[in-house]
């Protein structure tokens, strides 16, 4: 039974649970709803939940477990050393699955009978027969793979049957259980609310699961990378030179340098501009001016980064090249550290200004009064009282902005260039960690090569840097908020 049909059947059973649960609750009190512990709908929902939830849980577990078990069962068809090797096993299993799917399609299209499919031998004709029904197989099918895939089909069919049977048994059992315990005294509301609470808790753990997913996915691939390429050379290598023939040099440092250099330029633009914007809006601007300017500045933050990327590529890059780099003889490339840095800086202005604005507004009015009462001017108050008082918060905001600049992808992809260099000239094209993640993962290289896997190591590096900055920054901001609460 296909999974979709199975789920539909479960849905029908749930509706039955809904109707029957309600009817039974009402019957148990002869229609006098006041004698029920909970509202009738809670009994209905209880019936539906008990029919659906345990069954769907069983189904999910089964779907996760079945491929793993089948894989183990198939180990007998292949030499052990092939099966022990992780990457070879993945390839083998992919072949097996593909052939099995092809046989499925062929049977469905009527090109093969069910018995043919099971008894077919690997005589080379299988490729043509499958191609005839529109399934293209990459390489020739070895006898082992064919046998394994025939066994795979058998196991999968058996598994599918048992999966349906078990799921339905659990659903019906849940339904019967719900009906059996339903009577006027049964606390259906508490039970249903408990289930809802469970769902709510599950939803809130998605955040944790995401983090775990990020860490695990990058960590496992990074470890694979480390098994193919010396990790020390990655961390401390001074050259980035991937080549498709192997012998790549994959040193992190030029990329890290590009990233930090561009972020530095960005922060030099964004921090003063953002801070002065925030100070003006918080301390000087009239409510009218503020209500117009603040949303306008925030428009910048709402524009997708790819738009900034195009701006860097089409406008800023050529402008800097023609007016600064070429006249001063510093370079001849539109893509440069300056281009990307300036544009990221502009992108970060609203980020810093709105965070700093909040933080400045959190400084208590009494401190301003104290300073004005002593005859300080506004700027003296800002510089000597408000900014020192807000300093931790502002440092936090700047660190968050720095972490954004480091992780920014589109602007550097379109505006910084692709050459990994350790150079000081800001009008040279340089490249960043994020650019290389994109280029290594969107190319056509084989997935199991160090040239591709290095992207995960780069991602891990990026994640660690930004996470460290974020955790520290958020901690600083939190401490700051507590101080004035």
């Amino acid at each position: 039974m296909p999974i979709l049909l199975l789920i539909i059947v479960l849905g029908v059973l749930a509706i039955a649970g809904f109707v029957l649960g309600r009817r039974r609750a009402l019957a148990s009190v002869e229609g006098n709803t006041r004698r029920l512990h909970s509202l009738p709908n809670y009994y209905a929902w209880h019936g539906a939940i008990m029919a659906f939830l345990p069954a769907i849980a069983v189904l999910t577990l089964w779907l996760i477990a079945q491929p793993l078990i089948i894989e183990r069962q198939l180990s007998g068809y292949f030499p052990t050393e092939q099966f022990e090797n992780n990457s070879q096993r993945i390839l083998l299993m992919a072949d097996v699955r593909r052939v099995a799917e092809g046989l499925d399609v062929a049977v469905a299209a009527g090109a093969l009978s069910e018995t043919d499919a099971a008894s077919l031998s690997a005589d080379g004709s299988i490729r043509e027969r499958l191609a005839g029904v529109g399934v293209a197989l990459g390489a020739d099918v070895t006898p082992q793979v064919l046998e394994a895939s025939q066994a795979y089909r058998q196991l999968a069919a058996n598994g599918g049957l048992w999966r349906s049977v078990l799921t339905l048994i659990v659903a019906v059992a849940g339904l019967l259980y719900a009906l059996r315990i339903t009577n006027g005294d049964f606390r259906a509301r508490n039970r249903v609310e408990g289930v809802i609470l469970g769902v709510l808790i599950m939803a809130s753990t998605i955040a944790i699961l995401t983090t775990i997913g990020i860490v695990l996915s990058m960590l496992s691939e990074t470890i694979r990378f480390a098994s193919m390429y010396p990790f020390k050379d990655f961390l401390f290598g001074l050259t980035w030179q991937p080549s498709f023939q192997g012998n790549s040099q994959l040193g992190l440092l030029p990329l890290l340098w590009g990233t930090l250099y561009i972020s530095l330029v960005a922060m030099i633009v964004a921090v003063p501009t953002g801070l002065f914007t925030a100070i003006y809006l918080a301390e000087y601007a009239s409510p009218r001016v503020r209500s117009i300017v603040k949303p306008l500045i925030e428009v910048i933050a709402g524009i997708p980064t790819v738009v900034f990327g195009l701006f860097a590529l089409v406008t800023v890059g050529p402008f800097l090249r023609d007016w600064f780099a070429v006249p001063t003889g510093l370079g001849s490339s539109g893509s440069s550290v300056m281009t990307a840095g300036l544009v990221i800086g502009v992108l970060n202005i609203p980020f810093i200004s709105s965070l700093a604005d909040d933080i400045i507004n959190a400084v208590p009015q009494s401190l301003r009064d104290g300073s004005y009462g002593l005859g300080a001017t506004k700027s003296e108050t800002v510089r000597q009282v408000i900014l020192p008082a807000a300093l931790p918060g502002i440092v936090g905001a700047i660190l968050l902005a720095a972490s954004r600049a480091i992780g920014e992808t589109m602007i550097v992809t379109m505006g910084a260039g692709a050459a990994a260099k350790l150079d000081l000239n800001p009008f040279e094209a340089m490249t960043t960690i994020t650019v290389k993640i994109v280029s290594q993962l969107t190319g056509d290289t084989e997935f199991n090569s160090p040239e591709t896997l290095v992207a995960f190591a780069l991602g891990m590096t990026l994640f660690v840097i930004t996470l460290g900055l974020n955790i520290f920054a958020l901690w600083v901001v939190r401490k700051y908020r507590e101080q004035y609460e």
Partner: protein, 265 residues
Amino acid sequence: MYDAPTPETRLTQNTTKITARGVQVYYGDKQALKDVNVDILDNTVTAFIGPSGCGKSTFLRCFNRMNDTVASARVQGEILLDGENIYDKRVDPVQLRAKVGMVFQKPNPFPKSIYDNVSYGPKIHGLTRSKTELDQVVEESLRKAALWNEVKDRLNEAGTGLSGGQQQRLCIARAIATSPEVLLMDEPCSALDPIATAQVEELIDELRASFSVVIVTHSMQQAARVSQKTAFFHLGSLVEYGDTSTIFTNPSDPRTESYITGRIG
């Protein structure tokens, strides 16, 4: 609205420091202060009393133009400090506030060291020429605020680390470090415990020797204890102004009497 002519009570030998004539204050459309006339004397503690929202704090904040920092506030009439109208166009409120210091309801030391708190005013107004001179001003101000002995060994510690009463005295020291001529105090003891209150009150009495002190207070006992002159405000008007002893023993206006005896307020 001229329901309380300034009583021509027996004047001390002290000269008039501040003269307010026809002062009206609006917050947006709402009138907060109606046509107030008052003469504040030098070397005297003047207390403003009255129920909450009667305009006494608003009036106090007119003397150093702190109302300028409230966008919706508008002040009419004239206030003369030593004969000069402080609402004149040529007057810089910043310069004025160096002459008219202020202490606020809640102690509000800056999140800096004790030394930096006190030296802040002299520094921004450029009152000292050298570090030693500045040290001297800080010490003098802290001594005048009766805080020197308690903090002299920890001048570099944060001002926010002091106790409430100490913080308020630090704020007083901070205010007098710019050697103002008038010291405004907006309910300076309302956030303090009785012991700290007593210390600050004693200090106010001593400050009278050097400054003209104007204090807003909720506590009539406090007004009676520290002030020589008292002004009673009600619903935005000055009801009665005179010697503290007269106001408390023989008020001329029935509203003053009701307030003092606790029937309104």
